[in-house]
């Protein structure tokens, strides 16, 4: 059972990718944080742009707080088959680096499987 499940009214599907994706959260607040992203991570950012593409390709899923169905994050994810949720208001506040989560586009939720110790 997940520790908690988060979602919201503005949460939308950017790309279903290969279905639900599980991995450790990495919060990217600015381009300086991009170096933290490793293969299989869940990349969580306010928004993405072309400078994020190398790290998006490493990620198991991409979650953005802002942005809509046809934003860069959604379009790039779709072109590369990456599971992607956009408009995920609250995701940056509710999650922290190292939390193991499952990004599920079928019900537009993030399920926190285990939380990283503070």
């Amino acid at each position: 059972m997940p520790v908690k499940t988060i979602s919201g009214d503005t949460w939308r599907v950017g790309c279903h990718g290969n279905g639900p994706a599980t991995g450790p959260v990495v919060i990217v607040r600015s381009q300086e944080d991009l170096g933290k992203v490793k293969e299989g991570d869940i990349l969580v950012a306010n928004q993405t742009d072309v400078n994020y593409t190398a790290q998006m390709l490493l990620a198991a899923a991409v979650v953005t707080v802002e942005g809509g169905r046809y934003s860069h994050a959604a379009t790039f994810s779709r072109e590369n088959g990456i599971t992607c949720l956009i408009g995920a208001v609250g995701a940056m506040d509710e999650l922290k680096d190292g939390d193991i989560v499952t990004v599920d586009t079928s019900d537009r939720t993030i399920k926190v499987e285990s939380e990283e110790e503070e």
């Binding site: 790309c15 742009d49 809509g68 379009t75 779709r78």
Partner: protein, 320 residues
């Protein structure tokens, strides 16, 4: 060299000398769809401007150890290139876009990757946002902005993405440039004539206030509408966050960020940006454009002074 400046009306015939972005708008103009007035500057102008610089560019690659280092060197080389077409460009502005004071100057790159040329916004490779566009450029700065577009071929992100430190063939990349009359957008929309996310037979559009950049960059979430492709009936409307809008101030230097971000009021955010009438009009226009190209399209448009102006149309690159 054939004429370096190709007006919208003549563009379709000149397509190989220009990028897909330019060609698609020209096709629309030819079919009577409202697009900004403008002209293209052929790949040949790029070649003429930069061919003398190639030895210096190759040397820069040999002595650079990082993409960032190489990006700086190449930028300096390209922006200081002697540009022989200034007069032709200024004349083009008068002939093709009489009366306009501000312009959008957009890149259409043809990168060379591992020795072969890739076309921008082809179905195979998305270069959306890869190269720079400059908006609200005053008339006198248009020639300079063309060089900024050229230099954006060698921005760090492209040198990284295409691994240029290990592949010198990229330095043979070329660029055509589109110069358009600038419209100040009241509303913007990104339209997918077949929504690619859910795979159904739906027509999708995202609508918000101000310039399209806010939607494309993901800075805001627009209102989302899904319609039946066959009947145009509205199936779903979801209110977006629409937290702010992007406008521009006149651009005077490539380094200056001329974006103005204005927060939107609670009232603007709480109501849908588009009327039912506008949604229907965009649906009809989108399907019309799809028929013109014979394939589903990813379209950017603005509403300025109550009129819809199409600023970009390209094939939808991939479906879920």
């Amino acid at each position: 060299m054939k004429s370096p400046i190709v007006g919208m009306g003549e563009l379709s015939q000149a397509a190989p000398a220009l990028g897909n972005k330019v060609k698609n708008l020209a096709v629309l103009a030819g079919a009577g769809v409202r697009v900004p007035r403008g002209f293209g500057i052929t790949f040949d102008v790029y070649t003429e401007t930069t061919s003398g610089l190639l030895p210096a560019m190759h040397r820069a690659r040999e002595v650079s150890s990082t993409s960032s280092d190489l990006a700086k060197r190449l930028h300096d080389i390209v922006v200081s290139a002697p540009f022989s077409q200034t007069e032709a460009v200024m004349e083009g502005l008068d002939v093709h876009v009489p009366g306009a004071s501000y312009f959008a100057v957009r890149s259409s790159g043809a990168p060379v990757i591992n020795g072969s040329v890739a076309a921008e916004d082809s179905a195979a490779l998305s270069l959306a946002g890869q190269y720079e566009s400059y908006l609200l450029v005053p008339k006198e700065n248009v020639p300079q902005a063309i060089l900024w577009c050229y230099a954006s071929l060698f921005a760090e992100r492209s040198l990284d993405r295409f691994k240029v430190l290990g592949d010198g063939s990229y330095l043979g990349s070329r660029m055509s440039v589109l110069v358009q009359e600038m419209f100040v957008a009241d509303l913007c929309a990104v339209v997918m004539t077949r929504d690619p996310v859910e795979g159904g037979d739906n027509f999708g559009m995202e609508v918000s206030y101000g310039a399209c950049e806010a939607l494309v960059s993901g800075m805001v979430q627009g209102d989302l509408y899904l319609l039946s492709r066959t009947s145009g009936a509205l199936l779903t409307a979801e209110l977006g966050s629409k937290t702010s809008r992007i406008d521009h101030e006149p651009l005077v230097s490539a380094a200056a960020d001329n974006k103005i971000v204005t927060p939107l009021s609670e009232e603007q955010r709480a109501c849908y940006a588009a009327t039912q009438g506008l949604i229907t009009e965009i649906y009809r226009l989108g399907m019309h454009i799809e028929r013109i190209f014979g394939s589903t399209q990813d379209i950017e448009l603005v509403v300025a002074d109550g009129e819809i102006v199409v600023t970009q149309s390209r094939p939808i690159t991939a479906t879920n």
